[in-house]
Symmetry: C2
Subunit: 726 residues, 2 copies
């Protein structure tokens, strides 16, 4: 991918057809309302052309629900003197694609010789407006270098947009007249209406071309034609507006009306408004790294990915593990949001963090239904979450090695730490923002009801006089059906403690809310006593002699593998050993004990951290295990003074840009993107909150080639600037 590291742009200097799906991911643009993969305007074989709108889920076999690929707004078919422009045919004389991160603008410049020898220069630009999230624009300038003739541009609204072959939309209605077209369609199961409309104009010098409509069923199109002289440039401008029934009652009608006004829109004006909105975002969120061009670009690229996926005006959606940039995990949200992506928003764009956390509060009914179905009180969040908070983890998926067989996926049943992760993120947001209103009205309820779940879920073992939590999966998914996973047990206890802290705070600061919650949740003294009892007696493993913490019961007895001796590898330990084979070893997908020590740094002393760091680091599959691991590993390396921190950091930095895991075509690794920001802030800059003086302090440990790191944090509504020089 990007072979030169410009501060602010990712570029592709050659066209590689074999890598188009990876490029489509990298060149995704978006505005927090929608995300659109970087497929070419004019189609290419094996493309994964898609636009995902937050919250527009629809039913699908196997994975239950997925974001429905919506009618593409970028499509343009171009005919140059009657020849169809396509990178499949003719000759590519020059090519460059560039994503400008500062303005979220994707452009492409192509010099192309047609099969008949006509040479044209085509410059494409597209943006999804951040100033007006229902507006998208595409523009192409075409210069006829060695011929005169006709330029024809066809832009359609395709109602048959598919998700890797699966259709989610039914046709409802359409219209097309002169230079505009409108399409109304509805998701097949969830019955979400989409209205999308376009206008197109084509000009050359001071002439305007002729436009007319092709009102084909489910694919209304506008065709614009103009004649140009040799050396002249024609410019086609296409505006698209869209909204769904999720946007309110009037949104569809307003969109239909707006279509006819779009042709009056001035490109420069609309684009400047968009750029100004982006300037504002970067004012809050930019991170400067001097002395390391690759790291600088990677950090901005990953922040950009978080920003284009972030819902700014919708508190009923979350960010999927692959953001809005691909089919991986089908738009489902995991703990990836709360633990990996949210800190970035919490500390730079708290309004967005609040939206994302409100999504969890709105979905409490789903979490309560899940707990109840499993026989527990309280709220148990789904491992994979979509529109409603119902559990949507697939239970069975086809075995890639034998299509007649299936693999049982257990995470939806037993990877339960997510409920504590949600509480953790709420607490972290509250502490950073001092948003007492949110905490009193929404956050507290989640913390209390997840605590209630943990108290019910913990199992009293009479003979040992302690609580245990058995048969679960921790973050390290190489080992399933384990007992007493440190990460899960410790965060469950933490969740209960915060619930007990929450009640007196409410009593002092929001007594009305406390009354409401006590009535709604019917928490009584006996239950509070039980919570304290669980806190006091929940088993957390620890060997006082070695200071080692066993990740789960029996972990140390599993087979010890010399991972270093297996390098270099090109696949994960689970691929090499198989699911059962990997589980029989001590090799970790990610190190749960270190992860827990990252989240709760005060729970153990430095010597314990170091002992466990030394034990678990060589036993972790850093290269092909979890994509969530490297950035946290970088942070923990900083905390123990290990210089490999930079190596781990760069592994995360390259995850998508260099496709180091061979799956970036499925979409951006959102957690890795969020982790990268955390690695700079909490790792290299070493930011730590001191309870003693109630201040944030840096403990810099910059990589040796870094000259400077600078970023801002929003704490209690005030902006703090950090500027660290080596």
């Amino acid at each position: 991918m990007a072979t030169t590291f410009n501060d602010w742009s990712v570029s592709e200097a050659e066209f590689h057809p074999e890598k188009i799906n990876h490029s489509e991911t990298i060149f995704t643009i978006g505005n927090g309302y929608l995300g659109t993969r970087g497929a070419f305007e004019e189609h290419f074989p094996n493309e994964n052309r898609s636009t995902f709108l937050h919250g527009v889920f629809d039913d699908v076999p196997v994975v239950f629900t997925e974001l429905a690929n919506a009618s593409d707004w970028t499509e343009m078919e171009i005919f140059l003197n009657g020849e169809r422009f396509s990178l499949e045919n003719g000759k590519i004389l020059a090519y460059e694609r560039r994503l400008d991160l500062k303005t979220a603008t994707l452009s492409r410049s192509v010099r192309w010789e047609s099969p008949q020898g006509h040479i044209s220069r085509l410059v494409f630009e597209r943006f999804a407006s951040l100033a007006d999230i229902h507006l998208c624009g595409v523009r192409v300038s075409i210069t006829a270098e060695n011929y005169q003739g006709s330029i024809e541009i066809r832009s359609g609204l395709n109602g048959n947009a598919d998700n890797l072959g699966f259709l989610h939309w039914n046709w409802v209605g359409q219209s097309a007249a002169k230079n505009s077209a409108t399409l109304l369609c509805r998701t097949r199961s969830s019955a979400i209406d989409l209205c999308i409309g376009l206008t197109q104009t084509l000009t050359a010098s001071d002439r305007t071309g002729r436009s007319f409509a092709w009102d084909v069923h489910n694919h209304p199109s506008v065709v614009s034609k103009i004649g140009i002289e040799k050396g002249e440039t024609a410019v086609a401008t296409k505006w698209v507006t869209l909204a769904t029934s999720r946007d309110g009652k009037k949104a569809l009608v307003q969109t239909q009306r707006r279509v006819h006004k779009l042709s009056a829109l001035n490109w420069e004006e609309a684009y400047q408004a968009h750029c100004a909105a982006w300037e504002n975002e970067w004012n809050y969120c930019d991170m400067v790294i001097e002395g390391d061009d690759e790291a600088q670009l990677a950090v901005r690229f990953n922040i950009f990915q978080l920003l284009i996926a972030a819902p700014r005006s919708d508190e009923h959606v979350n960010i999927g593990a692959k953001t809005l940039s691909g089919y991986g995990y089908r738009g489902h949200a995991f703990w990836d949001t709360e633990i990996f992506m949210l800190p970035f928003f919490t500390y730079t764009r708290p309004e967005i963090a609040r939206n994302l956390l409100s999504y969890r509060w709105h979905n409490l009914p789903g979490a309560r239904a899940k707990a109840s179905a499993n026989g527990f009180n309280g709220a148990q969040y789904p491992w994979e979450s979509a529109a409603t908070g119902e559990e949507v983890t697939p239970t069975w998926v086809p075995d890639p090695k034998d299509h007649t067989q299936l693999i049982r996926i257990w995470t939806g049943d037993i990877e339960i730490h997510i409920s504590a992760d949600v509480s953790f993120a709420i607490w972290q947001y509250w502490k950073a923002s001092a948003d007492d209103e949110f905490f009193a009205k929404r956050g507290a309820e989640v913390i209390l009801d997840t605590a209630r779940f943990w108290a019910a879920r913990a199992e009293w073992v009479e003979e040992l006089q302690r609580y245990e939590i058995s048969d679960i999966i921790g973050p390290d998914e190489y080992h399933d059906h384990v007992d007493n996973n440190l990460y899960t047990n410790a965060l469950a206890r933490w969740n209960l403690q915060r619930a007990l802290d929450t009640l007196p705070w409410l009593e002092t600061h929001a007594p009305a809310e406390l009354r409401r919650l006590k009535k709604a949740l019917q928490i009584d003294a006996a239950e509070l006593k039980k919570w304290q009892h669980v806190i006091d007696h929940l088993y957390l493993p620890y060997n006082e002699k070695t200071r080692l913490i066993e990740q789960f019961d029996g972990y140390f007895a599993r087979k010890d593998v010399d991972l270093a001796a297996m390098e270099p590898r090109s696949e994960s330990i689970q691929s090499i050993f198989g699911i059962e084979g990997a589980a029989a070893t001590q090799v970790l997908k990610q190190p749960d004990v270190l992860m827990l020590m990252y989240l709760l740094p005060d729970l153990y002393d430095q010597a314990t951290l170091e002992a466990n760091y030394r034990y678990y680091t060589p036993r972790t599959d850093h290269t092909f295990g979890s994509s969530l691991g490297p950035s946290i590993q970088a942070i923990m390396a900083c905390r123990v003074g290990d210089v490999t921190a930079y190596e781990h950091f760069m592994r995360a930095a390259r995850a998508d840009l260099f496709d180091v895991r061979n799956n970036a075509g499925d979409g951006i690794h959102g957690a890795s993107a969020g982790g990268l920001w955390q690695a700079v802030v909490f790792g290299f800059a070493g930011l730590r909150y001191s309870a003693a003086d109630q201040q944030w302090h840096t403990h810099p440990a910059l990589p040796k080639n870094w000259k400077r790191v600078a970023f801002k944090m929003m704490i209690h509504g005030k902006e703090l600037s950090f500027d660290i020089h080596q």
Copy 2:
């Protein structure tokens, strides 16, 4: 459905939107190359618009492969003075749809008042030519009753035809100019190319309307417009030609060339050629029933279904369980073909039977691979078969009651009688046709290699000194994992016997083929000895005292349920009791012992037949068990003189026309259609072959309301006429 019983047509006098999927199945037309469901030309919500081409399979999740719905050739959007014609809007003043079985023509007559009050009469006709299987025609005549104005007809080729939401096609290319359009597309996994083209003309009185093309990506369309006077009639004629890469190297190019010649085609001429081809079919295949209009129509309707699904020029395809008329079973072929549908073809259109049996011969490699994968010699046919003969039974399907759970489908693993069924059909065809060439070159190889499978599959039980066949599913699928199912054991033995008969015949009549086969199959004396040993010692249960045959080991010990006491029911016993619950009873989905006695009538004497008929009949789920059961039950009732024969017969006759099982929307029950023909011939007419005088004799047992039954049979290449009067 059909409330009046015309001899030759099925008609619908009112439009019932809630039954459109059932109507689409009933009004399917086809020509043995393709089948097209009876969706309206102009679209209607919840339609299942589909055209299936024989052999055009493509990969799909869960069910592995399915016939790919191809671009629809019937689609026409009609605008009357600018108002879109749709039965959703305006008023339906008169409506009739009629399928003429004699000419395979579907017509619809609608008198419609538009929302603005314009009244039009529209008459639609469509046919898929039997004289020229690559040609289809649609014509609509529109009379403006109370207005003058414009008529506009839009006909497109939709490259995004989907299978219930799943897309199988990638765009390859297209063209559109004036009154014609062409689309090239390719199935996504199996890479079968389809070329489809259309031309359209619109006339009124002696004027011809203006036509032009809308060349929208993946949906090229032709639009025709004309102005008409009040009372005048406009006629739009649309011709479609199509072919796939399965039709040979030149087929696609020829189709592309042909498109431009289609507009010169004369409707009456092309239609007459089609009708003449159908007259020829009915000359061979018609069956006359006098005195019972409903039975007469039902028999013709079901014969029609077999004829439109029958491949006349392709020996690499089979007929799916739901023919080419719906999504049920995804186009997969079962024993339904060999045992239920094939006798009709064998005895009336042996060329078609030969094609269908050749499909099995071509797929011997798949059957051998399946046997080998299971550790056996020989050929084991797949329970569900598609393009290659590979097993394509789904292994797991979603549980309709809980979408997170799956149900294991065992038929692909252990419903093994299919291999003997194929041999049975080959032998039956050979005996009826005297097609020695087919038998020597193809049929014999199947019989020998399936025999070899049975000899390997039978298990020697030392302590009982006999062979058994354990852990299988017989035709009665309410009971799985059973041992010594009579149907399977008896047909396996029969298969081995016929293999031993085949070798000396080959020696006498086709010694070169025998040498070829002996070399290819490497059959030696020891193996032949083994075959005889299995024949002599394969266990067939029989109680000499009661004459009862236990369907499988332990069947008599299962719970006896008083089925009569549960009437009337509206669902199957398996639905009521559950899979495990039904298996614990003696209730049968269909009676295997009677089925076996139908196929091998000389194996048991009349008293044994009667004893078993009395035992099994009241224990069979005739109404909601297998749709394969009723016609065979009617035959066996005739053989024991039971007057309920007619009731069973009519249950089969109504299966699709009246949707008695509530699933006709998924497609025609092909086996029931074939069984119906057998029930008349081998049941009511009582046709039996006498080995003594080597003649066919009737043993009539006509229902009391029937005055006459007449049909023809093709025996040894000669036509025999049967005409039975009560």
